[in-house]
Amino acid sequence: MGARPPGTLSGALLIARKDLAIEFRTRTAFFSSLVFAVLALTIFYFTWDESIVTPNDRAPGVLWVVLTFSALLGLQRSFAIEEHDRGIDALLVSPISREAIYLGKAIGNLIFLCAVQAVAIPALALFYNMPVGRPLVVVSGIVFLAMVGIVAVGTLFSAMAVNTRLAELLLPMLSLPFFVPILMSAAQAAARVFAGRPVSEVGFLLKLLVAFDIVFIFACMLAFSFTLEE
């Protein structure tokens, strides 16, 4: 083994691999998030009168509600797993930079949440009889952009919430206001794509989404080291 400490990106990938390996062995968080997402999709079907609002019209709304709450569920466990036996201390003494710890956690969360959505979005198409084709592919892309922003903010707040007295209760309260611009632009863009409008019409909303992702990845990465300082 070389004695050289890993760089930011390779350190981050190591952390992400560690988290995903833990998750892959137990699979408890994945299945609970997945079951939650699919269960919520089916339950929300009954919250509208079918004769007034067609399933096609409500599907985009249901998608974003379910996506937001299943993401919160997944993010909660991101730092909770480090609390057992103070795993976070081991991470801090390792020769991996704090930025890399944050990035690794975020990458792990992103892969986790995308895996949940990879099942949830087809389930949505199935239960709400959505047209399968180009709109669904474009919307999946929008979901990915939204997920990056949600993970950027959520990973930081998950690290903060776990150290407070309220623990997981605090995460939604801190994160949801920060999800507003993401959800507003992503949901508006997705609704228009589902309605058959051209992608060029939502170009600005997508640019805004990308700008949010970039700004908050860097801001949260910088802020993360402040939350660890002993």
């Binding site: 930081l156 309260m173 206001p177 507003v180 507003m184 632009s185 600005f204 949010f212 949260c220 300082e229």
Partner: protein, 241 residues
């Protein structure tokens, strides 16, 4: 557990009262504003008495945004210098900001119901922004309440405040580009002359003055209260309570 007497605590902060002369001046200014707005300012031709809420609604909003700006700046300073005074200032102005923002969110729908015909209009920029800022401030104060260690509390809440400031332009843009907006364009701050009659303009400007005074006076009082609390905790620790 016996706590330290009030006298001990007051001595510890050099006898400075929580509510000082500045606060009294601000309170008198606000009362004077109410008297002027209600009795000595003419009714607006179309909106009637409902328009008088303008002299409270807009100044409260300006007070709220001032307080929030102070919180963000003090937080940035805290992250940089780790000076506990900056943290105390951030906390004090966040609490005052919450009070002012609550006033904005109460007076706004009352006015909107009368004039726009709806309590709440989601696609209005300033409405949505104020609401979510209110939520961020609430989250900030709840976060502070959930952490025991002062240094950690300072760092965590400062991070939240700075990110919150970063969030504002994004909420702004996402509402702006999603739909139309309802709020009137500024009637005072615009390139041409203010389109407000002189008497109304004077009431409005003195409203801003009075509310800014009140905002700063409340922050000062809350800051002193924070000082007292810290001193009391220190005295208690010293005496082993």
């Amino acid at each position: 557990m016996t706590s330290v007497s009030r006298q001990d605590a007051r001595q510890a902060v050099g006898g400075k009262p929580v509510i000082g002369g500045f606060f009294v001046i601000a309170a008198v200014a606000v009362v004077a504003l109410y008297v002027r707005a209600i009795l000595f300012t003419p009714l607006e031709a179309k909106q009637g008495a409902a328009q008088k809420i303008y002299y409270i609604h807009v100044p409260s909003a300006i007070g709220a945004y001032t307080a929030v700006t102070i919180t963000a700046l003090a937080s940035l300073i805290y992250l940089w210098l780790k000076d506990e005074r900056a943290d105390r200032m951030a906390e004090a102005s966040a609490e005052v900001g919450l009070v002012f923002m609550t006033m904005v969110l109460i007076t706004g729908p009352l006015w909107a119901h009368k004039i726009w015909g709806a309590w709440w209009v989601w696609w209005d920029l300033r409405l949505t922004l104020s609401l979510f800022l209110w939520f961020v401030i609430v989250g900030y104060l709840v976060l502070r309440g959930a952490i025991e260690d002062p240094a950690m509390r300072g760092r965590y809440s400062a991070v939240l405040a700075v990110l919150g400031a970063l969030l504002i332009p994004f909420i702004h843009l996402s509402v702006y580009f999603s739909m139309a907006h309802m709020h009137p364009d500024p009637v005072v701050l615009k390139p041409s002359e203010p389109s407000l009659p002189r008497e109304m303009l004077i009431t409005f400007l003195s409203g801003i003055g009075a509310f800014l005074l009140l905002c700063l006076a409340l922050i000062q009082s809350r800051y002193r209260l924070g000082e007292l609390k810290d001193e009391m905790a220190a005295v208690e620790a010293e005496r082993g309570y």
